[in-house]
């Protein structure tokens, strides 16, 4: 149980420091469990209870952040002292300001029908071993078979000098799988993640005893029947997984305001987007990308961000036009706008920074079949393996994990390791149709220094790109 009075008393200490324009205190309690199975055998079994707090002090010429896993009044006073000293030492020439936001007093929680904390190790192991057995039953030769289940229950209390007081409870869990399929002397790899917020009842929704056997059979098929494409210009239908990674990498990241302002310049990089590009075209009218922390059950779900700002959907690219950046209070102030609730931190030890939540291509009007039916010569890329993008988020590459040729509107044999290496405007500009059915994938997004991994969804419907270079 979080001691809210303690947090408020530490905030009082912080507010008494001279020239403080904002002080924040966050206290967190985290219970987590991890179980990994390798080839059907327990590889690791970890459980922990964690608690800690942080203090952030904003002065007109510096920001200081201090954190500790010791929750006590004495430690709180030490953190206040340390954060204040660090803020003072920065001596920033351009005055620091934050966007004005209404103070919030609320509590938000995600409910669980079956609490994660009450799921026994035996039940977790049974869950993982059933997946393993189902994969074995396919008779596909699979090395690895590494399945790791992780869950967290995070209780948090946030208080700031403007009067916000926000309590929260967020249960979140995920499963990561690593399979390596061997066939006829060749191999294909599959690295998947499934994540959600809520209780254990959500685990069944993943249908992993069907999904992962289907995955390894598909990879065997890719090896056995797959053929490389003749490099050249053709049409490409991207499945939700590929549309989703593109939405995340070449829309979500370049639209982070801290990146645009250069704050990530030495790590995650900058952006091809500049602050004055709102209203500029980057894609076709079918290219709408949304980042929405409030999608129910989504892996990247939250109701209020780490600065106490209410979460809401953000339309990043809207009908191909740069529409809205992801903002925290500092970046919003520098750009003359309001925060849109994009401040997140992986853990109480780390400073909150601008992050995505659940980023996806917005649905269109077409049925999936219609997208394929009008392709004379092309490929459908359902999923990817290797991918990357440059640090200004302009040059990206996706290599297929599952792909098929399309000839005269009909699906053909597997197309193996199809490579799409494309610029951001070329990708989003080539879209001429988007289907109705949005699907999501789970991922951990890395940013910040030390790198902070945060839970996100990526997703979208099927999107059709006309005339792109494939190899």
């Amino acid at each position: 149980m979080i001691d809210e009075d303690l947090a408020n008393s530490i905030l009082d200490l912080a507010q008494k420091k001279p020239r403080v324009s904002l002080a924040e205190v966050r206290v967190e309690e985290i219970r987590s469990h991890q179980l990994a199975v390798k080839a059907g055998e327990v590889n690791s079994n970890t459980g922990l209870e964690d608690s800690g707090m942080n203090v952030r002090i904003v002065l007109p010429d510096g920001i200081g952040f201090a954190s500790s896993n010791n929750v006590s009044k004495q430690e709180g006073a030490r953190l206040v002292q340390r954060a204040f000293k660090l803020a003072k030492s920065a001596k920033v020439r351009t005055p620091i300001s934050l966007s004005p936001e209404q103070p919030v007093r609320t509590t938000w929680t995600v409910s669980q029908k079956r609490k994660l904390a009450e799921v026994s190790v035996e039940d977790r192991l049974t869950f993982l071993r059933e997946i393993d057995s189902a994969v074995i039953r396919t008779k596909v030769k699979v090395q690895g078979r590494y399945y790791e289940l992780k869950d967290y229950e995070i209780s948090s209390y946030f208080t700031n000098s403007e009067g916000s007081r926000i309590g929260s409870f967020l249960p979140r869990f995920s499963l990561e799988s690593q399979n390596l399929v061997s066939h006829k002397g060749e191999t294909e790899q599959s690295l998947r993640e499934f994540g959600t917020v809520g209780g254990w009842e959500k685990a069944d929704e993943w249908r992993l005893t069907e999904m992962l056997p289907a995955e390894v059979k598909m990879l065997k098929d890719q090896i056995e029947k797959g053929k490389r494409v003749e490099p050249g210009v053709m049409d490409l239908v991207c499945g939700p997984e590929v549309a989703g990674i593109a939405a995340h990498e070449s829309c979500g990241h370049p639209m982070e305001a801290d990146r645009i302002l250069g704050r990530e310049m030495s790590q995650a990089g900058r952006s091809f987007v500049s602050a004055d590009m709102v209203g500029k075209r980057v894609g076709s009218k079918y290219a709408t990308v949304v980042d929405d922390p409030t999608v129910p059950g989504a892996y990247g779900y939250y109701a209020y961000d780490q600065e106490g700002v209410k979460a809401r959907p953000r339309y990043l690219y809207k009908e191909g036009i740069i529409n809205e950046f992801l903002q925290n209070r500092e970046t919003a102030s520098r750009m003359g706008t309001q925060s849109n609730g994009s401040s997140r931190a992986q853990h109480y030890l780390r400073e909150p920074i601008v992050r995505m939540a659940n980023t996806f291509v917005a649905p269109g009007d077409f049925e999936d079949d219609e997208l394929i039916g009008s392709v004379k010569n092309g490929v459908i890329m359902h999923s990817f393996t290797e991918w990357n993008i440059d640090d200004k988020r302009y040059n990206q590459k996706y290599v297929s994990r599952e792909a098929y040729f399309i000839k005269d509107g009909e699906l053909g044999r597997p197309a193996r390791k199809v490579v799409l290496e494309v610029t951001t405007p070329s990708f989003w500009g080539a879209i001429d149709a988007v289907s109705k059915n949005v699907k999501f994938e789970s991922a951990e997004c890395g940013k910040g220094d030390p790198v902070q991994g945060v839970a996100v969804f990526t997703g979208g419907p099927m999107v059709r790109l006309r005339g792109v270079n494939l190899k």
């Binding site: 327990v42 459980g47 952040f65 201090a66 660090l86 920033v92 393996t385 951990e444």
Partner: protein, 448 residues
């Protein structure tokens, strides 16, 4: 014994009294100061303090790991972990923990580094250095890391370690698409080359000015230590027994085989003076110099006691952290300080000897189509300089190295005399000491 090893030893006793057979307790007390800067100004200063004990217990083959973060209840939590282990399912592949009478080296720390009061001054020096060479926009991070560790185990481990280090990363821009990156990693205050690091990043950013679109095709590449450090990240992961075991390694079944050119000797040595120096691994086994690749031939994987038993060999003292973290699995052995042995070239000689190539400062976002075969791509960033007939003739941009990692290591034909310690973000990690190398005929691709 100091306070931390006493605490660790006490918790080993508590866990054993509660019924555990194998116990490892690693107590850590860390204070990290960070100054982040961008656009040639300081953005924020951060400070993290953590004191906790990672505990591993086994009752027969029933295992449980945890991180005791509330030390006021440490004994009760430790007993609870043993109780959880007693209910845990068996791990039939568990091979035990290290047993022995271990002898450890001694910690050495620079008190001057420990007492730095104003880390911002180093950042301002670095910014000034970069600007003096022509950069107009400078960003990066400066860390001071103080970490004390005490370890104890039921296998006989008992030791303390005290480490302090500083690492500065500077990325400088002279134009929006012209940048250079340099780092300085040290265990001594007097060796923090803040201004020189800034100057080097600034100089590279000026060399990278007015880049033109790079072309696809086969090309020789000269890569700096920072670039090699980024490739080292995934290379060393694939050298670990866990990755080999699950098939996600191009080194599987390659012991005794040629996996790199004869010019390459690759060791892991955390016993040298470096920012990742450590006296013992996370099982408490004294660290040592391990020859991983000798003249291109793979000699061993990285092991802890349990993986070593499975592979019928001995631990290499590379046991990783007890508790898994973001990109690190539990029970995964880890490299602590990779070193590629220096060669006999100067960087200038390598450039002069190259007819058609690219000189590359740094890279990022290295991803694999298939870890078991090594097909990958990585995206060079910062200065990418075009070499023609032994001379740098300008800068290029927007290219990718799309090739095979095993081929890359096998195609190294020149290694520099000089090497440096590099560590940058989660990319060039762990800290490593590396030379510059030339790689023949790598495949360069670009977006269409």
């Amino acid at each position: 014994m100091n306070e931390l090893s006493e605490l660790a030893s006490h918790l080993v006793d508590v866990a054993r009294d509660a019924g555990a057979k194998d116990v490892i307790a690693e107590a850590m007390d860390s204070m990290v100061t960070q100054v982040r800067f961008s656009n040639s100004r300081i953005d924020a200063a951060n400070w993290w303090s953590e004191k906790h004990v990672e505990l591993f217990v086994a009752i027969g083959k029933r295992l449980m790991s945890s991180d005791i973060r509330d030390l006021t209840r440490a004994d009760d939590i430790a007993r609870g972990i043993v109780a959880s282990a007693s209910r845990a399912p068996e791990s039939r592949t568990y091979g035990g923990i290290a047993q022995g009478r271990f002898r450890y080296g001694r910690s050495r720390i620079d008190a001057k580094l420990s007492s730095i009061e104003n880390p911002s001054s180093y950042v301002n020096e670095a910014i000034a250095g970069a600007e003096s060479e022509g950069a107009n926009n400078v960003g990066g991070t400066f860390f001071i890391r103080r970490i004390q560790t005490g370890i104890a185990s039921s296998g006989g481990a008992l030791a303390d370690d005290n480490r302090i280090s500083a690492d500065l990363s500077v990325r400088a821009f002279s134009q929006p698409e012209a940048s250079g990156h340099a780092v300085s990693c040290t265990t001594h205050e007097s060796r923090i080359k803040a201004r020189a690091t800034g100057e080097r990043a600034g100089k590279l950013s000026v060399m990278a000015k007015d880049p033109v679109q790079g072309q696809a095709g086969k090309m020789d590449i000269l890569i700096e230590p920072l670039f090699l450090g980024v490739l080292g990240h995934s290379t060393t992961n694939m050298m670990t027994a866990l990755w080999v075991d699950i098939g996600f390694s191009m080194y599987a079944k390659k012991i005794g085989k040629q996996v790199a050119s004869k010019a390459v000797t690759f060791v892991d040595d955390p016993t040298v003076d470096c920012t990742s120096r450590r006296l013992f691994d996370h099982e408490g086994v004294p660290t040592r110099r391990n020859m991983i690749i000798s003249r291109g031939v793979l000699k061993t994987y990285l092991h802890n006691t349990s993986t070593a038993k499975r592979f019928r060999t001995k631990t290499t003292a590379n046991a990783g952290p007890i508790v898994p973290s973001l990109f690190l699995a539990a029970s995964q052995p880890v490299a602590f300080h990779p070193i590629v042995q220096s060669g006999d070239w100067t960087t200038g000689e390598m450039i002069e000897d190259t007819k058609n190539g690219l000189y590359m400062n740094n890279t990022w976002y290295t991803r694999y189509q298939n870890y078991s075969t090594g097909e990958f791509s990585t995206i060079p960033r910062d200065a990418i300089l075009k070499i023609e007939n032994g001379e740098i003739i300008g800068a290029v941009k927007n290219i990718r190295v799309s090739d095979n990692l095993m081929s890359l290591w096998k195609s190294i034909d020149a290694i520099s005399k000089s090497s440096e310690e590099v560590f940058w973000w989660d990319e060039a990690s762990p800290p490593s000491t590396l030379p510059s190398v030339r790689v023949r005929e790598m495949n360069i691709t670009r977006s269409q």
